[in-house]
């Protein structure tokens, strides 16, 4: 019975770790998607600069918060470490992309390319899908 409980708690912890990583990636994907949409609307003249700047500011905080949520994750296997490290890398790239877009918009009065954001979002989505399949 004790072995069963230990096994269950191990499984439970693994599930919790994967859940936390998936949640962080979901938040990042949402933030990157919103950033791309906001830049797209600005480019089409449908959104104001103020709204786009605010969206990028809010989304940079959201990705940053997502990065911080994986800090306290305790890993119990090499596979989990690999997943955590991959998530950290993807989140860092996402954060950099949003910050770059935000700063580019603030510094230069011209349309900002969403390519960096899209690339970061693709990487996030790929990892997210892989973790969900492994679950």
């Amino acid at each position: 019975m004790l072995a069963g409980l230990l096994l269950l708690s191990g499984c439970g912890q693994h599930a919790a770790t994967e859940d936390d990583l998936i949640h962080a990636l979901t938040e990042a994907h949402s933030a990157l998607g919103a950033s791309v949409l906001a830049l797209d609307q600005l480019d089409q003249g449908r959104a104001t600069r103020a709204i786009t700047e605010t969206v990028l500011e809010d989304m940079s905080k959201q990705v940053s918060d997502a990065q911080h949520t994986i800090d306290p994750i305790k890993i119990s296997s090499d596979a989990e470490r690999t997943d955590r490290d991959a998530t950290a890398t993807v989140l860092a790239a996402g954060s950099a992309a949003v910050l770059e877009a935000r700063d580019e918009l603030a510094l230069h009065d011209r349309s900002v390319s969403p390519d960096g954001l899209i690339a970061a979002d693709v990487a996030t989505t790929n990892l997210l899908n892989r973790l969900r399949e492994d679950e």
């Binding site: 949409l37 959104a47 103020a50 700047e53 605010t54 969206v55 809010d58 959201q62 969900r132």
Partner: protein, 409 residues
């Protein structure tokens, strides 16, 4: 003709004044995560607030006294104090969220960081309460709040697949990657957003402020039974806009700025500008109401002079209390806490406190000593009892679901 215009004004004000930051944010969040599958909660919430607001207005019009004055008298100081404690705390959270909402909306219009707007918003709220007549204050906020009809326009312009929205509303669509517990957590949040306690306190105290009598019951009924449901339609429109634009892209709303994106897609800068005006008006109006509610509840419980119909010098403690509440709200916001998170928590805690708020109203509305022949009808009591059960279930489930879901994550 004057009567018809007065009726129309009341209804329009009720529509425009229905939404606040809690509704705006929660509707958009659920739309972006669950589509319209939680639309039924808006309907249930609107019916509930109609029942209790109508009851509360009738109590004030017939007895000439506001809800909290009667609660203490009818239920005794202990029960009244428990009610006061819960209601005041929720009210203060809601006030904080509304002032934050004003600041966030102004940031969207100006690019100036919302923290710089917070103190200015609070001062503006105080100034309006201090100097502007009650009816003007209420009517202007309500009428300008009608700009939120822009959400209904946006939904129409988006040209959605109405069949798909209908399937979501009838829950024939799946939850996607969302968990059932999260679905019910947001059901309770949406219910709490529709039935926030301050609406009832403000409605009843407002009836006394404006000197309503039994002759005004028809106006009160029209405001509630026509205005609130139409306001509820706007709630569904906000959720619908998020469902059409954000849900397919898996963009979950976490900020007020994201709420504007579907509007931009639908109608461009002009519609966005109209909506921002509406959001400022709605949150400003709600900030006025929650600030006044804070003053009403405490002053009425302790028997202090209260009301804008009295000169400030004659209701000094009432006005001082409101100033203190605004300062507390500003202080909380200036710590940098996310106003949207405060909003999300306030609607859930509203659901927790609902039984304490609504049961006393039901008791007083059935007391012939206060109501004479205007006591609740059997039908009204039947409906109110059904809602009391719903409210109890929501109240008991709110905190466990908050813990299980990690506040809806």
């Amino acid at each position: 003709m004057k009567k018809v215009l007065g009726l129309a004004l009341g209804v329009l004000t009720a529509i425009g004044g229905f939404l606040d930051i809690g509704d705006l944010v929660t509707d958009a969040v659920v739309g972006s995560r669950f589509g319209l599958s939680l639309g039924w909660v808006v309907v249930v919430g609107v019916v509930g607030i109609c029942i209790f607001a109508q009851m509360s207005g009738r109590v004030a019009a017939v007895s000439g006294r506001a809800t909290f004055e009667l609660i203490r008298e009818r239920l005794g100081p202990r029960a009244g104090l428990a009610n006061l404690g819960a209601s005041f705390f929720i009210n203060l959270m809601t006030l904080t969220a509304e002032v934050g909402g004003i600041a966030l909306a102004l940031q969207l219009a100006s690019s100036v960081h919302y923290l710089l707007w917070v103190p200015l918003a609070a001062v503006a709220v105080w100034l309006v309460i201090w100097r502007v007549k009650f009816s003007i204050m209420e009517n202007v906020a309500g009428l300008v709040g009608l700009a939120l009809i822009g959400f209904a326009v946006a939904l129409f312009l988006l040209g959605p697949d109405w069949g798909e929205l209908g399937r979501q509303a009838l829950q024939q669509a799946g939850l996607g990657s969302e968990k059932v517990s999260t679905y019910w957590y947001y059901a309770i949040a949406l219910f709490g957003a529709a039935m926030t306690p301050y609406e009832v306190f403000f409605f009843s105290s407002g009836a006394v402020e404006e000197g309503w009598t039994a002759k005004d019951l028809a106006q009160s009924r029209a405001n509630v039974l026509v205005g609130f449901p139409l306001g509820g339609v706007l709630s569904l429109a906000i959720a619908g806009c998020a469902a059409v634009v954000l849900l397919p892209q898996l963009i979950a709303v976490t900020s007020l700025s994201q709420v504007m994106l579907p509007v931009a897609v639908a109608g461009g800068k002009l519609l966005v500008a109209v909506i921002i005006i509406g959001v400022v008006a709605a949150t400003f109006g709600a900030a006025l109401e929650t600030t006044l509610s804070a003053g009403y509840t405490i002053a009425q419980f302790f028997g202090w002079p209260w009301g804008k119909f009295r000169a400030p010098a004659r209701a000094a403690r009432f006005h001082l209390l409101m100033i203190i509440c605004l300062i507390v709200g500003v202080g909380v916001l200036m710590t940098g806490i996310d106003p949207v998170q405060v909003t999300e928590l306030s609607v859930v805690f509203s659901a927790v406190a609902l039984p304490l708020t609504y049961l006393p109203i039901l008791i007083v509305a059935n007391d012939p000593e206060y109501m004479g022949r205007f006591v609740n009808s059997r039908l009204m009591n039947a409906a109110a009892l059904v809602y009391l059960v719903i409210i109890l279930v929501a109240s008991l489930s709110a905190i466990p679901l908050m813990i299980i879901t990690g506040a809806g994550r």
